[in-house]
């Protein structure tokens, strides 16, 4: 693994630990009104996210990071 890769993974691990620690401050169900708004849900509009991912992967050399990936296509 490259130095950059190790740095990224280390950063990711540090953030994960920080998140886990922050998780101790539990938000109660009755405090979650705004968290339930569609704007706060990752990829709430899955169809739009899939379309964007599709045309981006047809134009750019990198992809991934937003869920398990589907098959390729010949659209170049």
């Amino acid at each position: 693994m490259t130095r950059t890769g190790r740095m990224v993974l280390l950063t990711l691990a540090a953030l994960a630990v920080a998140m886990w620690t922050a998780g101790c401050a539990t938000v109660q169900p009755w405090e979650r009104a705004r968290l339930a708004n569609p704007c706060m849900v990752f990829d709430y509009n899955g169809g739009q996210a899939d379309f964007a991912s599709h045309w981006q992967s047809a134009r750019e050399g990198s992809s991934g990071g937003f869920g398990v990936q589907g098959g390729g296509c010949g659209c170049k």
Binding site: T2, T4, G5, V8, L9, T11, L12, L15, A16, M19, W20, A22, G23, A25, T26, V27, Q28, P29, E31, R32, R34, L35, N37, C39, M40, V41, F42, N45, G46, G47, Q48, F51, A52, W55, Q56, R59, E60, G61, S62, S63, G64, G65, F66, G67, V68, Q69, G70, G71, G72, C73, G74, C75, K76
Partner: protein, 366 residues
């Protein structure tokens, strides 16, 4: 390895497959619709258009149905068609008047709650002229800490089969993908997600549709048979005062072809009325080139490519969208809470490539 050295897989394209896929999809949707109505059931109808500075136009209608059978199980079926008109740069060399193509895909996803876990099993079939892709995928997630933490993981396997047009030879490409994520509620207004994706692609990876110049002769590229790709993503959702929401994403990507990229996106959404949501997003993308990429080649290079996606460049995307959810029944036909979604994207790359995308969507609760 030179193109053509590998034993080509036997080939064939069955022209009836898209129709068979459509039949399977319609049957599945009918089966789903015939089931009992419990939980959240959504029918999404979207119509996408894509037009770029090369003159390529793509029209893509997509229908997907998300339906719960019981409190613990559900099914999602998605069907779409890409109708591609005009010619890409590559096609134009042989078809100066344009070439038409079409891609048909079906995606089926079954989900079930098992104890505290949610299990998703699914697959996707995609067919087009000169390219076929079959994918199987599974993912699992679990809520912890009273729903404040969600951990998720998934795996997918894809068999991609490009046809070396204009010959009948077909090559195989195998892609394995592993995905992990942690989503954490930090406060009653903040959610953070961390994700890691490992993707390993083996087999034929040149594009049979793109040619490069080697010693002044245009040839199909020859790329390494193995590519390992990794991406880490950090995503933040922040509720702001006044019915406004902030969305920020960052992705770092790198692979064994020495291609690395950074992607930032920042978006703001605001409810001007409970029924009217307006949003704007800016996305910046920058990548280095693959270590063997050159605009043209001389001598006797081992690897060479005409794939524009492997060159260094950056791009910007501007997105505006409006979601209207009328309080009353739309046109007196559609159910309450049916939403109309309009979105426009403008993509501009430093390679002088530009494209516009427009989406009209209907989200219909059943």
């Amino acid at each position: 390895m030179q193109v053509g050295e590998r034993e080509p897989a036997p080939a064939p394209r069955n022209r009836w497959r898209p129709l068979a896929l459509a039949g399977v999809c319609v049957t599945a949707i009918a089966l789903v619709a015939a089931g009992s109505l419990r939980g959240e059931n959504i029918l999404n109808i979207q119509f996408h258009t894509f037009q770029d500075s090369r003159g390529v136009t793509v029209l893509e209608p997509i229908v997907d149905l998300d339906k719960d059978f019981t409190e613990r199980s559900g099914l999602k079926v998605k069907f779409g068609v890409d109708a591609i008109t005009a010619a890409s740069d590559s096609c134009a060399r042989c078809h100066p008047d344009g070439a038409n193509s079409q891609r048909t895909f079906v995606n089926v996803d079954y989900r079930r709650k098992i104890g505290d876990y949610k299990l998703d099993v699914g697959g996707q079939i995609s067919r087009e002229n000169f390219y076929a892709a079959d994918t199987a995928m599974v993912s699992i997630s679990r809520d912890l800490n009273k729903g404040n933490t969600t951990i998720a993981g998934g795996y997918s396997f894809s068999l991609n089969q490009p046809q070396l047009h204009p010959t009948q030879s077909v090559e195989n490409q195998y892609a394995h993908d592993l995905f992990f994520s942690v989503t954490q509620t930090l406060t009653k207004n903040t959610i953070l997600q961390l994700a890691y994706d490992y993707n390993r692609v083996s087999g034929y990876q040149s594009s049979p549709f793109l040619r490069t110049r080697v010693n002044d002769i245009m040839v199909v590229g020859n790329t390494p048979d193995l590519r390992s790709r990794q991406a880490v993503v950090v995503r933040l959702r922040q509720a702001l005062p006044g019915d406004t929401y902030l969305q920020a994403d960052y992705r770092r990507y790198f692979d064994t072809w020495s291609l690395a990229s950074n992607t930032f996106s920042l978006g703001v959404e605001h409810y001007f009325k409970p029924s009217l949501l307006v949003g704007f997003t800016y996305r910046w993308y920058g990548q280095t080139g693959a270590d063997f990429y050159q605009p043209s080649y001389t001598g006797n290079p081992i690897y060479y490519t005409g794939d524009f996606r492997l060159q260094p460049f950056n791009s910007a995307t501007y997105t505006g969208h409006v979601v209207y959810t009328p309080a009353h029944r739309l046109l007196d036909l559609l159910p309450d809470k049916t939403a109309i979604d309009l979105q426009y994207d403008r993509y501009q790359a430093s390679t002088q490539f530009a494209s516009s995308m427009f989406t009209l969507g209907l989200r219909i609760p059943l």
